[in-house]
Symmetry: C2
């Protein structure tokens, strides 16, 4: 990296006014120049969705902050292809700090992870940060971790086409573990309600029933009090299934 200050694009899925993104911005101001492009409102569960069916509005708040009425993926693609001029192309994109874990299968529903995934696809290394705590809003330790991991990624680089999904446990972490994505065993609970006109509507909730604590997973690291850093890429292929299924091939 040259001696210029690193440029850091910040996004999230809890919205531009969330406490987690403010904590992340404060940490990143100690690392480099920051540019925040984030959803105008909460977008949790947005996954890697891209808004194609309607137009988007960009609101510039000040020189360094923009909100978009879309998803984290929309924010990153607009930041890199419209909002920031080429000479301000960021060195890295950080997403978060998410209010809640993005472990196991949940990473695939996560707008936080998707923001980092989108930047990686667009060739800017991406980092996603999440705090594993449902009620706590204390981002002190997770902001420290975000700063440390970002400095390391800028200094040492991360593998090509790879993003890092970083989950930080409650309290002071014992250290960092490089992990693989685990699997959860959760049963969604759909709750039924009745509106004032007597018609039913439904909310999707979830009852977690534990996880498959295989060795080396993100769940395991968090369970033991470590920061979990999972290298991810935009590849859902089940490589081990390819040979198993070879017998399906046919030519006419």
């Amino acid at each position: 990296m040259s001696s210029e200050k690193p440029r850091i694009l910040i996004t999230n899925d809890d919205g531009i006014h969330a406490e987690g993104i403010e904590a992340l911005e404060a940490a990143m101001l100690e690392v480099g120049d920051v540019y925040v492009v984030a959803p105008a409102s909460e977008m949790s569960g947005a996954s890697h969705s891209l808004t194609l069916g309607r137009p988007l509005r960009i609101r510039q708040i000040d020189e360094r902050h923009w909100s978009v009425d879309g998803t984290p993926t929309d924010c990153v693609t607009l930041a890199l292809n419209r909002i920031l001029p080429m000479e301000l192309r960021p060195h890295i994109c950080v997403s978060g700090i998410n209010h809640g874990a993005n472990l196991g299968d949940d990473a695939s529903y996560s707008g936080t992870v998707a923001g980092a995934l989108e930047s990686t696809i667009l060739r800017v290394p991406g980092l996603a940060f999440s705090l594993v705590a449902n009620r706590s809003q204390d981002f002190t330790e997770s902001a420290k971790v975000a700063k440390e991991v970002t400095l390391k990624a800028l200094a040492e680089g991360i593998p090509e086409w790879t993003l890092l999904n970083v989950n930080v446990p409650k309290g002071v972490p014992k250290g960092i573990k490089i992990t693989k994505q685990g699997f959860k065993a959760a049963r969604p609970i759909i709750s039924e309600h009745i509106d004032p006109r007597g018609k039913p509507y439904y909310w999707i909730g979830e009852v977690r029933e534990g996880f498959r604590a295989e060795g080396g997973t993100d769940f395991e690291a968090i369970d033991e009090g470590y920061v979990s850093v999972t290298p991810m890429r935009s590849d859902l292929t089940n490589h081990s299934a390819i040979e198993i299924m070879r017998g399906w091939e046919e030519s006419s």
Copy 2:
């Protein structure tokens, strides 16, 4: 499988009135009993997003058809946890037929793939079908492929925790290839428009610039006129990067 007729859950991301889902339903009626739970309107680009921030409405159209004002992921979780009673739990879930390809990185934006991914997470094997043609609405060949692949998956099973992302080329396919997910090189183009009040708004579009035609990818199979069947799982881990990054680990 027992001798009872297979039960098939159908969803998509183009919406319950799309031609692709009608073609898929017609093909599945030759395989078993069908239950259609699909978005009320088009949800392209919805990815694996789950609607958590607002309630959902379910509209029952007849004994076998329901529409939901949400994403494909919402449809599948509602179908399996609310709409279909346990004794009608489906043997398989099919999603599509998508109007357009879901190859390479695009699979991660795809609501079609996400419908099959969600059912796989909920332990019902999932298949996603897409027709690689932007303008053609001729689903004849892709419906045949959907029937053939579904019969095969029901008869032989598919690897655990795995979904199949099936892309069908234009015309009569030469056969089936088992593939891995490729990578695209596309440059998003953001177009700016001005509304009647003089304010700008933006649409996200895309200019494809080709793909990395590594051997054995979905792109390659389609390019050669074959049906591409990519086994996928809910795991974004870049396994080869784990050892590379081991040096990042630390304990305090």
